[in-house]
């Protein structure tokens, strides 16, 4: 990067907030999707919205592409640096600015973690509802960018349902307030557009979130089934009974094996386990939970275990939430997908995925949000075997096609990012994609704000496509993957 531009950044935010040493930069070369990597020219560490404005103004003037980054837990390469560009890390904007219990609102900077909000309000009996599996470490700014979900969004919705307002830096450096702490701000729902725009339209520097009263009662059960179709019919019956569970999760044998190896949740041996959680007023939960239990038994559950206390409930969720990371115990490498199918198409699509895995000789684990049809196929492969990385990527793509063919989506909560943009034309017509591009052009006319994400473009020069390959720094023993 031109020395003159680097100096401008140093003048604007202070030299200590500008990282340029290769060893420092390499930390930012990818998010939690490590097979896409690109080392940024600089990493900038603003401490305030004014810093972010100053950085964006320089980028805008000098034509430098920029990528905002939270805590780097994204699973679609949304924070993948752009060659020749800078990464703007929001990690140091990490203050909780206001906790307003009477009005059930919390104001935070984007670097605050998802779980920190709940920690702040738990003493008052409240919580922040969206709960992505990475909630201990993921940032609220990243959640806003990706419209993050979690296991409980079947009943409680996604990030977009829990953000009331944001302060954001536009690509020209202007600071704007979007949304309102009050209801019914007139005009188009720009906040709803911004949430989930994957850092391509603006950089959020503050968010006002809604908190909810903790439910009076939570009941969780785990049911073991001999087949996915039995488990699937139990889910359909629960929904048909007019019950909206807080969460309905499924894990198949591969995912159960991995979870057992990693965190020992002591799940019963089964082809499929179903986790159903109900929450709400005690009387409602007690009444409906009995119905759910009966449905599981009737649908052929070989075992139904009801969590008797918070410890047992925690164990069930630990097994579920650790499933991704646990895949490392049973496979050297894995690839996570995030396709969605209509709930009624689950058995059909899962059957196709199973057949695909058998045909291609790859194990595919499935851990997913069954209530809303959001699949997380975990494709196991070994990069040391010639061609298997490419095979895994192709299989992952094939699964997305199955999801779209079933009337679903290529991504339920991880975002399109750099990872799935080439699949966007499978879901949307060229006209639809062009109109989405015009949205982007309206807010980012110079195409500097997280370019190369969400919408399909030719591969960027210097961006290495394909599955993860060991980085030279790793090979030299200077860093390791975690």
């Amino acid at each position: 990067m031109d020395h003159r531009v680097v100096e401008q950044f140093k003048d604007a935010v202070g030299p200590e907030a500008v990282l340029s040493e290769p060893v420092q930069l390499v930390t930012y070369e990818c998010d939690a999707l490590p097979h896409l990597r690109s080392v940024p020219e600089l990493v900038l560490l603003p401490r305030s919205a004014a810093d972010v404005q100053a950085i964006v103004r320089i980028c805008n003037k000098e034509g430098v592409p920029f990528v905002a980054r939270g805590h780097g837990t994204g699973l679609s390469g949304g924070a993948l640096p752009v060659p020749g560009g800078v990464v703007i890390s929001l990690a140091k904007l990490n203050r909780v600015l206001d906790v307003d219990i009477p009005n059930r609102r919390v104001t935070v900077e984007p670097g605050v973690t998802n779980l920190e909000i709940t920690r702040q309000v738990a003493p008052f009996g409240y919580y922040y509802a969206p709960d992505p599996s990475s909630q201990q470490v993921c940032s609220i700014g990243g959640n806003v960018a990706e419209n993050s979900g979690g296991a409980h969004c079947l009943k409680y919705g996604f990030t977009v349902h829990h953000i009331l307002a944001v302060e954001a830096v536009l690509t020209n450096g202007d600071l704007v307030e979007i949304g309102s702490t009050l209801a019914d701000a007139p005009g188009p729902d720009v906040l709803g557009l911004l949430v989930g725009s994957e850092g391509t339209l603006a950089i959020v520097t503050k968010a006002v979130v809604r908190i909810l009263r903790k439910p009076e009662s939570v009941q969780t059960l785990l049911a073991a089934f001999d087949s996915i179709s039995e488990a699937g019919s139990a889910v359909s019956e629960i929904i048909a009974a007019g019950i909206v569970p807080a969460a309905v999760e499924m894990m198949d044998a591969v995912a159960i094996e991995a979870a057992e190896a990693a965190v020992h949740p002591n799940f019963p041996p089964a082809d499929t386990v179903l986790i159903v959680e109900l929450d709400g007023p005690s009387a409602e939960v007690a009444e409906l939970f009995a119905i759910v239990e009966a449905i599981c038994q009737r649908s052929g559950a070989t075992r139904v275990e009801v969590a008797k206390d918070e410890g047992q409930r925690g164990r069930i969720w630990k097994g579920r939430k650790a499933a991704f990371a646990a895949m490392g115990r049973i496979s050297p490498n894995y690839y996570v997908q995030d396709g969605v199918v209509p709930r009624t198409k689950l058995p059909e699509v899962l059957g196709r995925i199973r057949a695909l895995g058998e045909r291609e000789g790859l194990r595919i684990g499935n851990v997913f949000h069954a209530g809303d049809g959001n699949l997380h196929p975990l494709i196991c492969y070994d990069e040391r075997i010639e061609g298997q990385s490419e095979l895994a990527e192709r299989v992952a793509g094939e699964i997305l096609i199955y999801c779209v063919e079933a009337g679903g989506s290529i991504t339920g909560e991880h975002g399109v990012g750099a990872d799935k943009k080439e699949f966007m034309p499978k879901m949307f017509s060229q006209d639809s994609l062009d109109v989405m591009q015009s949205v982007r052009d309206a807010l980012d006319p110079k195409r500097l704000c997280n370019p190369g994400k969400v919408l399909p473009t030719p591969r960027l020069c210097g961006e290495v496509p394909g599955p993860y390959r060991e980085h030279p720094v790793e090979r030299a023993g200077l860093a390791e993957r975690f």
Binding site: P102, N103, R104, G149, C153, L154, G157, F158, V160, H161, V176, E177, G179, S180, L182, A183, P186, G187, P188, D189, V190, G192, L193, G196, R213, K214, S236, A240, G242, V244, G280, P281, A283, E284, E287, L288, P342, T344, H369, D372, G373, G407, S409, I410, T411, G412, E413, V416, F428, S429, S432, L433, V435, M436, S438, V439, R440, A442, L443, L455
Partner: protein, 404 residues
């Protein structure tokens, strides 16, 4: 079919704030709608989009209207995927008709309108909602996919038909509340809810506004889960709280018992047809008879101050004939009096720190010439204008009337 054949001369029935459009069109297909839009936009004709026409008076007075495009012939229910609890309906389908049909599978779209003819397209374009927003949010929270006709004639989609989906920009959210200023809504897909097995509404009456505000805070902070939580001021000036619990029968009874325990006032319980009429009346009350209707919002903790503010307005030259709303922050005022007195009252509301987003929804042209119906500027509106420039470069959609 050429577009000119589908246009007819508009009549007095098509008038908007007394302005009669030159032409009216009732397209019979999405393609025809898109073509009409493209032709009119190219010719820089000023266009107003109309669903059931029930909220057509919302907005500024138009300087002129060249073409009103009605969606009444785009009124099909395209798919009710009851196993997946989603529905796709064309913009012109009335909400009431949709909910009648969803009820065949014991499901519903939890949005209420004060107006029988209100259509899906109009509901999304205005993001108008009723008491169940307390539990399920406004239309934007239930909308999962949309088809739009753009001013250049393209038909585009965003979102999809599954409840969980983050692929691409959420243009459905963007057009929510856009009042027909960005694109025409062709169809919309929503997630649905099961119709509750049982329902009870507790009605508590208060002579003292502070006691009412106290109970609102207590119930809001409790673990009682209401599907609707409304307030209204009776004709005698007494405050009323309406609390609906809807769940399984035993749970509904237990919730009602818990709410009774918490309230300082002894409520009456209403169920069945009486409960239904109670809520219909609550939803329709602000729109009954004549008068100006003003929407306003507040932070939950400001409720006592809001009550004081409204009573001050009632003692001014204009009279508050109805005040209803959602207890935790959104309401409708019906005001009666001379235009100048109402304009002054709107000014008082807008200057107050206790309420915000004061929008004049129904007003005479005389009043509209004295106040801006939409009120203050905001960063979001500035961004929305940047988007409008791309979506409607000729600036013909709801020109001069809408919020942008």
């Amino acid at each position: 079919m050429s577009v000119s054949q589908t246009l007819r001369q508009a009549t007095g029935e098509d008038a908007i704030d007394g302005v009669i459009p030159r032409h009216a069109a009732l397209p019979e297909s999405p393609e025809e709608l898109a073509q009409i839009l493209a032709d009119a936009s190219r010719d820089r004709q000023l266009i107003v989009l109309r669903g059931g026409g029930s909220k057509l008076g919302w907005g500024r007075i138009p300087s002129r209207v060249d073409l009103v495009i009605g969606t009444e012939k785009l009124n099909r229910l395209l798919a009710h995927r009851h196993g997946d609890m989603t529905v796709t309906a064309q913009a012109g389908l009335p909400l009431a008709e949709l909910n009648r049909r969803l009820a065949e599978h014991r499901q519903y779209l939890p949005i209420e309108s004060a107006f029988e003819p209100a259509t899906i397209g109009g509901i999304v374009a205005t993001n108008d909602s009723g008491p169940t927003r307390h539990r399920f949010g406004t239309p934007r929270d239930l909308l999962i996919g949309v088809t739009l006709a753009m001013t250049d004639g393209r038909l585009v989609k965003a979102g999809g038909t599954v409840v969980k989906n983050v692929a691409g920009y959420d243009l459905g959210k963007l057009v929510s509340g856009s009042h027909g200023t960005l694109a025409a809504i062709v169809d919309a897909t929503f997630k649905l809810l099961p119709i509750p097995l049982a329902s009870t509404t507790l009605v508590a009456t208060y002579a003292d506004g502070n006691a009412l505000a106290h109970d609102v805070a207590v119930i809001s902070g409790s673990q009682v889960e209401l599907s609707a939580f409304d307030i209204r001021v009776s004709n005698e000036g007494r405050g009323i709280l309406l609390m609906r619990m809807a769940s399984s029968p035993a749970a509904t009874a237990a919730q009602a018992a818990e709410a009774r325990r918490l309230l300082t006032s002894t409520p009456a319980a209403v169920t069945g047809d009486e409960e239904r009429s109670l809520w219909e009346e609550q939803i329709r009350a602000p729109w009954a008879d004549g008068g100006t209707v003003v929407r306003l919002s507040w932070l939950p903790s400001k409720l006592p101050a809001v009550a004081a503010l409204i009573s001050r307005i009632d003692q001014s030259a204009c009279q508050v004939s109805t005040f209803t709303g959602r207890a935790i922050g959104s309401g409708l005022l019906r005001l009666e009096g001379a235009d100048s007195a109402i304009a002054a009252a709107v000014g008082v509301l807008r200057q107050s720190d206790d309420v915000g987003h004061v929008v004049v929804l129904r007003a005479t042209p005389g009043l509209k010439s004295q106040v801006d119906v939409w009120g203050s500027a905001s960063g979001a509106l500035d961004v929305a204008r940047m988007l409008k420039h791309k979506f409607d470069p000729a600036d013909v959609l709801n020109a001069g009337r809408g919020p942008i």
